[in-house]
């Protein structure tokens, strides 16, 4: 299967008063049609910036995409999104790639009715007339689970609860039946009971539309329930990439391993109930430094001299499974060659 999106060696930096923030340091990944790719990482790991860089949504200045490719292909077409002009890429955004953002409160325009905010992209990309767009919107609202959608068309965002607003955001994202939906921490701001609703809704829509979903999150629990594949990011790089089952059962990067051990589990039984959580000591990397070593090395128990000298590339460690680490956890020693 051909990837619908191939990202290669992407580099993004922010030029702030305090210095250069090396936000993305050579990210590579593929996204396949219809799959759900979870991008996991802590704040500052570059997971959002990666996705926003692809479609030119990072604030510029201070942000700047400084290198790499993002080949978007569907049908016969294949184009490098990073090379498109703002006017060209804007038709990709919304038209081919939809977005769901973290905070449904601030992400909706408070002074526009939700209906018009959804209909807006339809008139823009699909050339719908106002009334067409309206009826489609009402339909869509119903589809994302907003009751009484005819009337709600004219409601304002503040009339809605957080969960409802996130449904509106989802409706906006899928309004033009895009090929890809990028969901940037869509449930982080929501309560756990509502989170479950949203996860289910996205899953259902994905089945209906066959859209590929990139789900950015820091919650390994959510990922477990919905992803096909997972990218783990750290310090602006992809440190591990694997199918979801592999990642949880057979993590190969020390960071992933540590992360999985650091979260308590609600279903824990027996000893695990009282066990101390394992801790990844230290603090996240300082992105003001240029990356010349493994970003995780300062916190890594396995780090050896090579880790301090060069940035490890993503190394094939299994089927579809890559880890950016010079240390072979399985064997218990530095990896040979690379």
């Amino acid at each position: 299967m051909e990837p619908i999106l191939q990202v290669r060696d992407m580099v993004t930096r922010f030029y702030s008063v305090d210095g250069v923030v090396h936000a993305i340091n050579g990210v590579n990944f593929d996204l396949y049609e219809g799959e759900t790719l979870a991008v996991v990482g802590e704040s500052g790991s570059g997971k959002s910036v990666t996705m926003m860089s692809i479609v030119n949504l990072i604030p510029q200045p201070p942000g700047k995409v400084e290198g790499g490719q993002a080949i978007f292909s569907y049908g016969e077409m294949a184009q490098d999104l990073l090379q498109l002009s703002e006017d060209e890429i804007r038709h990709v955004r919304g038209g081919q790639i939809g977005f769901i953002f973290q905070d449904p409160i601030s992400s909706l325009n408070p002074t526009m009715t939700i209906g018009s905010q959804i209909a807006e992209s339809m008139t823009e990309h699909l050339g719908f007339s106002a009334s067409e767009a309206r009826s489609k919107t009402v339909e869509l609202l119903r589809n994302v689970g907003i009751p009484d959608s005819e009337r709600r068309f004219n409601a304002y965002p503040h009339h809605f609860s957080g969960g409802m607003r996130q449904r509106v955001m989802i409706a906006i994202a899928v309004a033009c039946r895009p090929k890809i939906v990028i969901a940037d921490e869509p449930t982080t701001a929501l309560d756990v009971t509502v989170q479950a609703q949203i996860v289910d809704l996205v899953k259902r829509l994905q089945e209906q539309m066959g859209v590929a979903v990139v789900w950015i999150t820091h919650d390994l629990g959510v990922v477990a329930g919905l992803a096909d594949r997972v990218l783990v990011m750290y310090g602006g790089t992809v440190v591990e990439s694997a199918p979801v089952d592999n990642l949880y059962e057979d993590p190969r990067h020390p960071y992933t391993i540590g992360l999985l051990k650091a979260i308590p589990r609600l279903d824990a039984t027996g000893e695990a109930e009282t066990e101390e959580l394992e801790v990844i000591e230290g603090v996240p990397p300082d992105l003001y430094q240029e990356l010349t070593l493994c970003p995780f090395a300062p916190r890594c128990g396995y780090a050896f001299d090579r880790c301090w000298a060069e940035v490890p590339p993503l190394i094939e460690v299994g089927v579809q499974h890559g880890a950016a680490c010079f240390y072979d956890v399985e064997r218990g020693g530095p990896r040979n060659g690379s």
Partner: protein, 306 residues
């Protein structure tokens, strides 16, 4: 596990020294050219005011009616003795402009000081005590804001007479409601902040909360406001002079000079032009500086550092 090479930068903080802070301010300035310009001009203006007697070539009050209305040096009939020309009483324009800096800065600085103090105290009390006290203070503030400024100014000028102190008082009083409003808003915001709650939970007294937590965090917004208001006051002074209500005519204030020069605008344009330019440059300086300070001191903008 291999022995670690020394950790580079990730976990270590560099010691924050005043040199580094200064360098940081320097970087902030460098990035904002307007701020830089404002900053440099500001320093120059302040230095001019302080060292006016040293810089000024002549006594700004020394009249020579026989040499009145001489044009600037580069015009026909001008002399480098009075590079910017002389006014209607034959006083040296350059020296008067230089000494005018003192007046303007004095008016601006002390006017803002009074307005700021009055406004800050009342805003602080209103915002912190709240309830009826807040209602009463803001009621007075709103009354003052609703009364035409001119009525105030004329009345105060008429009661107290024309002198520098009274001009400062007028500005101090009429401008204080703005400070009160801003202070109150900020206090309300800060009062709800986590660190005030934290201080309360640690058992801090009202005084400590006011002076240790609220006041220091008020300074930023108030300094920014003060900068803009100083610029406004330099303007107001000129406006008052237009009405003949500012400092006495004998004081070399830019407003007075402009007011006198106004009637000679087409024949002896330099008499009105120089003070006009001085006002414009000073207002520009304070505006640029204020813009920059707002960017630097506004914590909301700081957040974008990520």
């Amino acid at each position: 596990m291999t022995a670690a090479t020394p950790q580079v930068g990730f976990d270590e903080f560099e010691e924050q020294t005043w040199q580094k802070r200064l360098a940081y301010v320097g970087r902030l300035l460098q990035r904002d050219r307007g701020g830089m310009l404002g900053f440099i001009l500001f320093i120059l203006i302040v230095l001019t005011a302080i060292f006016a007697p040293v810089i000024a070539p002549h006594d700004p009050l020394k009249q020579n009616l026989r040499a009145a209305k001489q044009p600037p040096a580069w015009q026909e009939g001008g002399s480098w003795e009075q590079p910017l020309g002389t006014d209607t009483l034959g006083r040296d324009m350059l020296s008067r402009i230089i000494f005018g800096t003192r007046v303007s800065l004095t008016v601006g600085f002390f006017g803002v000081l009074i307005a700021g103090t009055l406004g800050m105290v009342s805003g602080l009390v209103a915002g912190y005590v709240g309830g009826r006290v807040d209602g009463a203070i803001m009621g007075v503030v709103n009354i003052f804001l609703a009364i035409p400024y001119l009525v105030f100014v004329v009345v105060v000028a008429a009661i107290l007479g024309r002198n520098l102190l009274n001009v400062i008082l007028i500005f101090g009083i009429t401008d204080s409601p703005i400070f009160a409003r801003v202070t109150r808003g900020e206090v309300l915001r800060i009062r709800e902040s986590g660190y005030v709650e934290s201080a309360v939970s640690a058992g801090a007294s009202t005084g400590r909360i006011l002076f240790d937590h609220i006041l220091p965090n008020l300074i930023g917004p108030l300094i920014t406001l003060a900068t803009f208001e100083m610029s406004a006051m330099i303007f107001y002074e000129a406006g008052l002079s237009f009405l003949g209500l500012s400092v006495p005519p004998s004081v070399p204030s830019w407003g007075n000079m402009l007011q006198v020069g106004r009637q000679y605008l087409t024949i002896y344009p330099w008499i009105a032009t120089w003070p006009g330019v001085a006002i414009a440059i000073t207002a520009l300086t304070f505006n640029l500086l204020g813009d920059w300070l707002r960017d630097v001191l506004d914590p909301r903008l700081r957040r974008s550092r990520k």
